[in-house]
Symmetry: C2
Subunit: 364 residues, 2 copies
């Protein structure tokens, strides 16, 4: 790591506040369909526009010429990682590629050289690598993946979007705290309303996991140090209704719902577009309404509504969409930096409160 | 039941072919937001247009005047049921309302007076009542709810859309057989391709249930008497992609995905509509493309793409959308009749083959 110029650090102490550490974001230059070009361009843009402090991780042979092209050689640090994780690789990459750019990025956070990670690589691989390399925050059972849904006027956080398979109800209750912290720090929500994704509005609806989680979220006991503003069950149709600030879901169902939402929005948009080119008159109509329609379409562009955040770990991990462009990469760097400055980790610790052994499941 | 004029029958024997019995559809006149008016009108329309044989079940005081209005008094039979299940009632209605119109409709099938049921009432209540009143087909572990998704050019069957909570993998393997039979009988598919709803394309992806179900669907053993044409995992984004004829899902996730799809399509359509009225020019454009846009919107109207079918029971149960109109009610009656004529029950029995004790879980 001679390229970093960073002091060789001790692992950051878990109790240490994020604000006392420099908000450096470790950017995986090699992850994503348009890497490294779009990622480096985005990181440079975040550095220039908002002064985001960046460390790039990747192959010097590819990244250095890009830094030179943007005229920031020497201004943005570069850490060498010759190995990369392919977009098609999943969780096994955490074992197969111990020296990949994303593994090195996580290691920088673990050693205290950085406070957050940004990558546009394979979500499955990033989650697995981050879980292996980064410690859970004290008392956290499992980390969870949060995404911001494009609801209006207020965005809704969906958590867990697929980090954890077969979770326990106690984990979902913690995810409600993570999601609330995220809604407060990243979206400015006050006393965020939390809904539980199920298949009916009544408390008794859903499978065993949903029913037990409902009980936990309704009871004082499960709330950690700070109360959860629990608003009951929400259904699949409420995902975009903006009824609540946070939707807690079991990861499998959350992931299916998220992808169904993206797929349906894209399908509907395609249908409308083809309707608007099916006759001469419709084409003229589409032409007249062009700018309004384009604006609507952009709202469903995953790049516009941003990436996912892995919460519950000692560092903020932001996962941008694989097909991210310069603009999206820049905004993901900014989000990672904002979350680190907003002390999302401290906020989660505060919400969970001191660990109560015997109540929560053992941390694994 | 003196109103029926039906011979007092013995329960239909399970082995008896549907084709030897008259294809009479027991229509719950009292279920649905627009009941009994729209339901009776729809049933009359199915009777007139396609010769569908109908028995209406409901309050004579309300239904008889409607039959008189349509001029079919004496042509369409009426069975009395004074109790009804409200749209807000769930599974508990099966115990609370033993003499409801939907319970009586199921009883008619059980006694051999009808071969199918059509209701636009509360899905939860209908599923619970049908499970209580109708026998499972031989070897069937649990019935499942199938819906037809509006994919193009070929529709896709999603099964289970929410009938069974916390199923076992062996049940999902059976659902693949039900779905294949449904795709053959109702949609004319040949060797229907079956996908498993999960959170990644690879076999190892998903939670324990999905992984075990994948194994079962891939092995010869689980296929029953006829092979399943298993095409591997599909993701939420593939729901409308038309890649497969049947998508097998665990009921909780299947229900969330279905409602997410409906909610997102409605949300996207609303966004487009408001985009088309946001400026004078856009309004003019929308006006010019009006008929094409309306056609596109109708494709996502649950009423157009029809209701759900509860499969695996001794009689066909078709559940129309609660807000169903005359047109939708008529088409649901026709679907129920077609499924009964297409011998969906025989087709499922054939696919499952002789019961193999010890392999499948005990029937409950």
């Amino acid at each position: 790591m001679s390229d970093t110029g960073l002091p060789s650090g001790q692992p950051a102490r878990a109790g240490e506040s994020a604000i006392t550490r420099p908000q450096v974001i470790a950017v995986d230059a090699m992850g994503g369909d348009n890497a490294p070009d779009a990622i480096v361009a985005g990181a440079v843009s975040a550095f220039r526009q908002w002064g985001t402090r960046i460390v790039l991780i990747g192959r010097p042979g590819q990244v250095r010429p890009l830094l030179a092209k943007h005229g920031v050689l020497g201004q943005i640090r570069l850490v060498t990682a010759e190995d990369t994780v392919a977009m098609a690789e999943g969780a096994l990459a955490s074992w197969r590629r111990p020296r990949s750019s994303i593994a090195v990025a996580c290691q920088l956070v673990h050693l205290g050289h950085a406070t957050g990670v940004m990558s546009a690589g394979s979500t499955g691989a990033i989650v697995a690598i981050a879980r292996l390399r980064l410690r859970n925050l004290p008392g956290v059972l499992r980390p969870a993946l949060a995404v911001v849904l494009p609801t209006h006027p207020n965005p809704t956080v969906l958590i867990d979007a697929g980090a954890i398979a077969d979770p326990k109800p106690e984990m979902l209750a913690q995810f409600a705290q993570f999601g609330s912290a995220y809604a407060e720090v990243a979206l400015g929500a006050v006393q965020p309303k939390v809904g539980l994704l199920s298949i009916g509005a009544e408390p008794g609806k859903g499978n065993k996991l949903a029913r037990r989680t409902y009980e936990l979220l309704s009871s004082e006991q499960a709330h950690g140090a700070m109360p959860i503003n629990f608003a009951g069950n929400v259904e699949g149709g409420d995902l975009l209704a903006g009824k609540v600030d946070v939707i807690v879901a079991e990861g499998f169902t959350g992931n299916v719902a998220l992808k169904t939402m993206e797929g349906t929005a894209a399908f509907t948009a395609r249908q409308f577009r083809s309707a608007l080119s099916s006759s001469r008159q419709a084409r003229l109509g589409g032409l007249l309404a062009r700018s309004e329609l384009r604006q609507t379409l952009s709202r469903f562009d995953p790049e516009t509504y941003g990436g996912a955040a892995l919460l519950g770990l000692e560092g903020t991990v932001v996962i941008a969409h694989g097909a991210v462009s310069e603009l999206g990469a820049a905004s993901a760097c900014r989000v990672a930096s904002q979350m680190a400055s907003g002390q999302i980790a401290d906020r989660i610790k505060e919400r969970l409160g001191p660990q109560r052994p015997g109540y929560f499941l053992r941390r694994t």
